[in-house]
């Protein structure tokens, strides 16, 4: 190999498109030539712009004071103001919607992830009768066109006296988050060596003790992703919340937001400001978990 280091290999030369006369240093695997690099950066920058633009756009529109400003975006620059935010924060029920949504999503996240984790663990480690059907039903549950379940769900919630209550909404959200989280966490638990459980048993821990003290702490990336997914699902949900929450003091954000358009005029500027305010907590949470995202998701996805 040492004899070849001073001249570029033919393939490397072909890839770099740099004159072969220049003695190219040997590149490690996964490194590419300057042209290829520029192209890659170009593609990534373009994609990032496309990903960023709609989010930046709504931020920008939310600074325009009039409800038709989104049609003449150029004019917003001259009259940038935070008046929309002031109106939303102080002249509407935003804070109470925010509190409701936060309560519902927070409890859904904690409750949903806990029961999903215990199910995922049971399915990952224990072979019990009904193991296969359970995995299947978790998958099939995700196939439900959930919009269609609203009518029967409504009847059942009203029979249980859970209509127009936080608990009812939390339970309904759990049915949408738990199946996926259970799958995800099952996959993550599968990657944790069984020997750890066995060591726990030898030291006299009960199955629950093993799960709680040994496995859960190791599964933190998976749990973080599951929590993020649950929170986001509950935080931004519209259909259930608008059907099941009847009194205006229990509205969550997604329902409250609609009150801006239900009038004869649509107050797009206020909606934009509200939308931005709504996006803040979930984005913060997102960037807290994002370093776990790749490992947490894939462990769940790579085991089918």
């Amino acid at each position: 190999m040492s004899t070849t280091t001073d001249r570029p290999t033919p393939r490397a030369a072909a890839r770099t498109a740099v004159p072969a006369a220049r003695p190219a240093k040997v590149r490690g695997r996964g490194e590419s030539g300057p042209l290829a690099k520029t192209l890659m950066h170009g593609a990534l920058i373009l994609a990032s712009l496309v990903a960023l633009f709609p989010v930046a756009w709504i931020l920008y529109v939310s600074l325009g004071p009039d409800k038709t400003d989104y049609l003449h975006p150029g004019e917003i620059l001259d009259k940038i103001t935070f008046s929309n935010y002031r109106t939303v924060l102080f002249d509407t029920d935003f804070m109470s919607w925010f509190g409701n949504a936060f309560l519902v999503s927070g409890v859904t996240t904690v409750f949903g992830v806990m029961i999903a984790a215990s199910t995922g663990y049971a399915v990952s480690r224990m072979r019990f009768p009904g193991h296969k059907p359970l995995m299947w039903s978790l998958l099939v549950t995700q196939m439900f066109p959930i919009a269609v379940l609203i009518v029967p769900m409504y009847t059942i919630l009203s029979r249980l006296g859970l209509l127009d209550s936080y608990l009812g909404l939390i339970l309904v959200y759990s049915t949408t988050t738990v199946p996926y989280c259970g799958w995800l966490l099952k996959g993550y638990f599968d990657t944790i060596p069984v020997e750890i459980d066995e060591a726990g048993r030898v030291d006299g821990l009960s199955p629950f003790g093993t799960f709680w003290r040994l496995v859960l702490p190791l599964a933190r990336p998976g749990l973080a992703v599951a929590a993020f997914y649950s929170f986001l699902t509950a935080w931004a949900e519209v259909a259930f919340a608008s059907t099941f929450m009847l009194s205006s003091d229990k509205y969550t954000l997604a329902v409250g937001l609609q009150t801006f358009v239900s009038e004869h005029d649509a107050q797009w500027n206020l909606m934009a400001a509200t939308a931005v305010l709504i996006a803040i907590p979930s984005s913060v949470l997102f960037y807290l978990v994002q370093r776990h995202l790749v490992t947490g998701l894939t462990a769940g996805a790579s085991k089918s």
Binding site: L71, I150, V172, V294
Partner: protein
Amino acid sequence: MSVAVQGATGQGSRQRDPRPGLMERLKRSYAKHWYAYAMIAPVVLVLGVLVLYPLAEGLWLTLTDANSLNAARKIGVNEIPASYHFVGLDNYADILWGPGSYDRFWSHFVWTISWTALCVGLHYTIGLGLALLLNQKLRGRAVYRMLLILPWAVPTFVTVFSWRLMLADGGAVNGLLSALHLPEPGWLDDPLAQKAAAVLVNTWVGVPFMMISLLGGLQSIPAELYEAAEMDGATAWQRFRHVTLPGLRTVSSTVVLLGVIWTFNQFAVIFLLFGANGAPDAQLLVTWAYRLGFGQQPRDYAQSAAYGVILLSILIVFTGFYRRWLARNERANG
């Protein structure tokens, strides 16, 4: 271990009285697996009460002529009992080959299938492309990754709302197109443009999940495989074809299945982009079913539920074939 288990049972930390008349075999299985059952009990309970039971009730509804005029309801203090009748499979027959079934069902069916294929195809290819780029040793790839995940980090109804403002007549998208002297379709009014807009927005929303999952898959492929392939003189394309793609197989099969299910049932994008009553042509089966059940007077609960059952059956059949196809591929490729 058995000591610990029995001890715990003795304490009755979970109150689960064995029902009388339980067979001995079941009892033994229960004694052996009770902790597994205890751990899955909450999920089974919640899903059973809030999904399976509604599903059973929904199935029953599809066999009746229930709508909001004859279902049980409350007007003031008066309780009006339900007065709908059993009609057998009439709802299904009406949906599938009744008069006007093409406009009501088959056109939406065709659109839903093409929508799913198109969106999942775009999600997967774009997601894979970006994942491959992010897997390179590039400066600033952490920043790129953060930016590219943004569509996922921000709640859907916020981003879809932003798209709605951008796609409106005179909005940002058409502003850009007119600056480039390109035609400006009425994204939210013209039937064909509506479909294009829906696919565009859904692609934008769905790519990050695919990208991150596939990126994780790429990172789990051992580097030695690439080195070995390079030693054997494989070109970049051959390495992609024979190392990367097979290495991604397990991840891909799962995310594609999830992608198909989620896209097929995609409710939020269509509903939020076109509002409760707009764009009849761009409605997927799921939003159409919702519209039958909630968006019209009288609300047709029975037909809406029948659509739901048809949707569910399509997905279950698809999943069955998909898994069989995967298993066959697995065997064929070793």
